[in-house]
């Protein structure tokens, strides 16, 4: 392979980013070396097994990926802002919408949610950490390495260009001979390992590590959604694992699963993809529902309305989500009977979803609502998400879907579910739990800018898409002529995307501003909240709880405050066992990244040789008998005195 094939060359946009990336990398390395921070980074972050720090790393990575995916989005909007634009060519546009979709779902939504789960869930159930802290670190690093591998595609070798759904035959080696789609198959595989591990980790944590007295039906709603999402992960991700492996075999080793030539079946890919893909959209939206539930209850100053109905509807949604995948290809040759069945199952999902919407509304009813930023996001979520749900039911009607399918109407639908559902939730969650993570609040005033710009920008960007979609514009079209008449609406949409981007910029500025100037004197419970994570310091002490709380009912922390139980006695404080840091997760993941990189370029021998590193890592792990260490009671007591003040 020649060097100019290896590095993507020619396009000035890409050349510019290559130089920018190179300079940033060098700059970072120099900066860290200059500040002598390598050791600190390694010891405090890269090898950490602390769920709170791992969560924070997930969140940082997720925000960075949000930026990357956002730039992709802006580029698409610029290209379609006017008829016959010549900003991106067809190939480049294809790559951009592909990486946009993959990055946003797998490297933005997933890590932000898993990150917040990591920080919050163990605290919410009164646990010391997750069940398997080292595995948790492995989850993070495989995600991170997978994401990085995916991202270097656009400077080395070329990006995938067959859509985030990568349908065969287009994604096969016959029609996509470049390495781009290998990046898709392999980077997602590596990241998927971590997701599956997270799922298992969270399930065991929730089943086995809840504080005494916290029955499952007394667990905070966010932890409930985490549990159900984790079950969905375990049920759905292995399907994707197989689908990607088969894709790899087809592309690199000449197998014929999805290639018609050898008797393979492209529809098999579609089925496998959506058997994972549809549950996946609920994997990302359920924890988001959980966050809204916490935020709405806290800022309505009431307990959650219809707790049991909430739990039942989450479980129902999860169950139904595995029975609807065919709605993604009604138009691809199913019989009328099959389409009808899947139409009905799809529409049924709207029922438990509707139940949840009404529960949130009833929670607010007669509440003393505080319009904090977190609450604003929750309030905006309800109407916007409802638009997504209602258009979903329209799409669910198979006959009608022949008109809507693969138009911008569909694109608008899922952006109205994913952005209000997931992104608004992540924002709500960040504003809400930020003080728990960092010990200061984000500024509420700048937050209002962030909120209004983002929500208005979002609607300006995506609302027009419903109409051009109904007017027949297919998704993934990189250009159109004047005579279509779509110009004005798409122009508005493009302007909207700039407003959206300004909203994101306001968030970044808010983080910067608050980091520098916000008050650090906020106590453990700045929102007067209800659940156990607020019974800790802000930021949380490394051991979480000095004494495992005794749970009596829902909203335990609220009760503790009401009943004056929110205190500890010196004689109850014991030594606390902690797991040691470990370098194995990061090393193992980097080894996977190296092997993955060679596989992308189909250098199979090199990949095989370097697989020894992975095996070595596994063996090292098996022989690792490190049993952690203890924080002495005395030290725990001193820490508690410091933040509680009144002991």
């Amino acid at each position: 392979m020649k060097l100019d094939e290896f590095f993507v060359t020619g396009d000035p946009l890409i050349l510019g980013s290559q130089i920018a990336i190179g300079l940033t990398m060098v700059g970072l390395v120099v900066l860290i070396t200059y500040l002598k921070k390598w050791k600190w980074l390694w010891n405090e972050w890269f090898t950490t097994v602390d769920h709170k720090k791992i969560g924070i790393m997930y969140i940082i990575a997720g925000v960075l990926m949000f930026f990357r995916g956002g730039v992709d989005g802006l580029m698409m909007k610029a290209q379609t802002s006017r008829p016959n634009m010549e900003f991106l060519d067809a190939q480049h546009y294809d790559e951009v919408f592909t990486t946009h979709g993959v990055v946003m779902i797998l490297f933005m939504a997933m890590p932000l949610l898993i990150g917040i789960i990591n920080v919050v869930m163990p605290l919410q159930i009164g646990a010391r950490d997750v069940a398997f802290p080292k595995l948790n670190a492995l989850s993070f690093w495989t995600f991170f390495v997978g994401a990085m591998l995916f991202n270097i595609s656009f400077v080395i070798g070329g990006s995938p260009d067959a859509g985030w759904t990568s349908y065969f035959p287009l994604a096969g080696s016959e029609f996509s001979p470049d390495v781009g789609n290998n990046y898709y198959a392999i980077a997602l595989q590596i990241a998927g390992v971590g997701t599956l591990a997270s799922g298992i980790n969270f399930i065991v944590t929730i089943l086995k590590m809840r504080a005494p007295g916290m029955k499952l039906m007394k667990m905070p709603m966010f932890s409930w959604t985490t549990l159900v999402t984790s079950v969905l992960i375990v049920a759905a991700f292995p399907i994707f694992t197989v689908a990607l492996a088969l894709m790899t075999l087809d592309r690199i080793f000449g197998a014929h699963f999805f290639t018609v030539a050898g008797g393979g079946d492209p529809m098999l890919w579609l089925n496998l993809f959506w058997l994972w893909g549809h549950p996946e959209v609920y994997i990302v939206v359920l924890p988001a529902f959980g966050m809204f539930s916490e935020v709405i209850a806290t800022f309505s100053r009431k307990n959650l309305f219809g707790y049991t109905a909430m739990v039942v509807s989450i479980v129902a949604i999860a169950f139904l989500s595995m029975l609807v995948w065919v709605h993604h290809f009604y138009t691809m040759g199913n019989s009328a009977a099959v389409n009808s069945v899947f139409s009905i199952t799809t529409m049924m999902i709207a029922i438990p979803t509707g139940v949840k919407i009404f529960n949130w509304l009833f929670t607010m009813r007669k509440g003393r609502i505080k319009f904090t930023n977190a609450m604003l996001w929750a309030l905006a979520f309800i109407p916007n998400f409802t638009i997504g749900g209602v258009t979903g039911v329209m799409l669910a009607m198979a006959a009608a879907d022949y008109q809507y399918h693969n138009t911008l109407f569909l694109v608008a639908h899922f952006h109205y579910t994913l952005i209000p559902g997931v992104v608004f939730a992540v924002f709500a969650g960040l504003y809400y739990w930020w003080p728990k993570m960092f010990g200061f609040k984000l500024n509420e005033k700048i937050g209002k800018w962030h909120f209004w710009l983002f929500v208005i920008g979002f609607n300006l960007t995506f609302m027009p898409m419903f109409f051009v979609g109904l007017d027949g514009m297919s998704r993934r079209m990189y250009t159109y002529s004047e005579s279509t008449g779509w110009g004005p609406l798409l122009g508005i949409s493009a302007v909207g995307s700039l407003v959206l981007a300004a909203g994101f910029a306001a968030l970044v500025y808010n983080i910067y501003w608050s980091f520098r100037y916000a008050s650090r004197d906020i106590g453990g419970d700045p929102w007067d909240a209800r659940t156990l994570e607020w019974a800790t310091a802000s930021p949380v002490q490394e051991y979480n709880f000095a004494i495992t709380p005794q749970v009596t009912d829902h909203d335990e922390f609220w009760l503790m405050k009401k009943q004056g139980r929110n205190t500890i006695k010196k004689e109850d404080v014991k030594d606390i066992h902690m797991p040691s840091n470990s370098a194995i997760p990061i090393i193992l993941s980097v080894a996977m990244g190296i092997v993955g990189f060679f596989l992308v370029f189909e250098w199979v021998t090199l990949a095989a040789i370097f697989s020894v590193l992975i095996i070595g890592g596994l063996i090292a792990n098996s022989f690792d008998y490190d049993d952690g260490y203890h924080i002495p009671a005395k030290k725990v007591w001193e820490t508690e005195q410091k933040w509680r003040g009144d002991l």
Binding site: I200, K208, A235, P238, L249, F257, G263, G264, F623
Partner: protein, 198 residues
Amino acid sequence: MASQTSTPLEYSTKQNEMNILGFWIFLGAEIVLFSTLFATYFVLEQSYAGGPTQSDLFILKDVLIETFLLLTSSFTMGLAIHQMRGNNKNAMLFWTVATLLLGLGFLYYEINEFNHYIHEGLTLQTSAFGSAFLTLLGTHGVHVALGIGWVIALIIQVVRRGITAVTARKFFIVSLYWHFLDVVWIFIFTFVYLKGLM
């Protein structure tokens, strides 16, 4: 000590309990993984693209030997766990090594089987049937190979450290894994080989 109570050693600590539960859930994921491979096979089992078919390829005798080896190894693994519960380190190691040898025997026959197929003109590239069949079989085989490596690592640990709560837990988990592979094999035997020969 836990050995005086009725809880087996591998369940004696909270961490152990969690590890074992976690592994059960992992096996759940493995079931989904193999189910997907089976489904793929069922979709493609008749897509020969002019290449060899099941009846051209399968030799019942060899498959029966493999089945016998693997089923027996599951049994010896059970005996090893039994001895572990009785705290008989040497007997436990004996049965573990027996398991290992049977597993290696299985792999030996399976590699021969692969050679035979290549010889008969069936590779991953021949047809969709070839891809699906060899991938299903290969995935199981790779699992067995990994299991063998894993068991060796654990033998070393038991020799060095004896039967402790930690080694007992690890051993118990590897035994779950081993039995699971056995179950998968029974499905392969029934729904791939027997069905294919009918």
